[in-house]
Amino acid sequence: MRRLARCFARLYPRRWRARYGREFDALLEDVNLTWRDVFGVALSALGEKYMSDPEVVPRIVNLASRDIPHGYELETAVEYPRGDGSTMLVRAFCREVDLGDSYVTLNHNTRGSEPAQTILVFGRKGKVDGDFRTDETEMLVLRPDGSVHRTEQTVKTWLKYDGLRDRLRDRYRTGMQAGQTPDQIRQQIEEEGTLQSWS
């Protein structure tokens, strides 16, 4: 049964396998699999395969970046495909201020028709271990209803997320310096598949 499930798991798209393959295989080892599970793996893998049609990738609608003291601002608008064929526009404004051993981040974003949400984070950088960093943070979430939710917590920051933002900013800056138009930069980023690998 397990062998069959593993065979079906190979039907997942390469991008999906690269991200979840190891942990998914570990789960298949841990679970007492039933025929229904095996069928579910096949169905899910085929769903992922056909929903991640290479023609249907996130499309950058807008991208802009500005350098500011100790950091940068980044504005993005990305259209994400949905399984039902429609798209969802995600608009985000981010201001990153790096103060050495601490940082301040302002994120303002909207997903589709949902009301905008603003998140302000003050963080003290902690120990880096592989792709993660353990930070002490104070976070204010400004909810659409006007209420403010404040939390203090230790978070494990996944540095690869920050890496994507940094890559977009660097790509935009070098493109502008080389005399490219924002449209040309957006097109090149899409061709490089930077966003696709994270969608």
């Binding site: 579910g40 893998a45 494990k156 996944w158």
Partner: protein, 96 residues
């Protein structure tokens, strides 16, 4: 209530868990057994929406996940809607 997204978020609401621990927990509190394909379909969707995040683990194959602030907010909204439906339904049954 059998929406895999909400079940996964509810499972993570009391602490970080990897895939097998989520399956086990969901079966205990909801009586629903999510198969591996359904579970990882939900995990991938929730991670894409920024509602859960992977966290560091000593075992690099059994990846635990944590609920993000946005995920917690979404779960609160879903459970509040559900609670309203349950309370209205019960009230109507009593008066029927």
């Amino acid at each position: 209530m059998s929406d895999p997204n909400v079940l996964v978020l509810a499972s993570l609401a009391d602490g970080d868990k990897h895939g097998y621990a989520m399956m086990d927990d969901i079966e205990r509190f909801a009586g629903v057994r999510l198969g591996p394909g359904t579970l990882y379909g939900a995990i991938a969707r929730l991670e894409q929406r920024g509602w859960i995040r992977p966290v560091k683990s000593a075992d690099d194959r059994r990846q635990p996940y944590t609920l993000s602030a946005e995920g917690r907010r979404y779960l609160e909204e879903q459970l509040s809607d559900l609670s309203q439906i349950v309370s209205t339904g019960l009230k109507r049954l009593r008066h029927a």
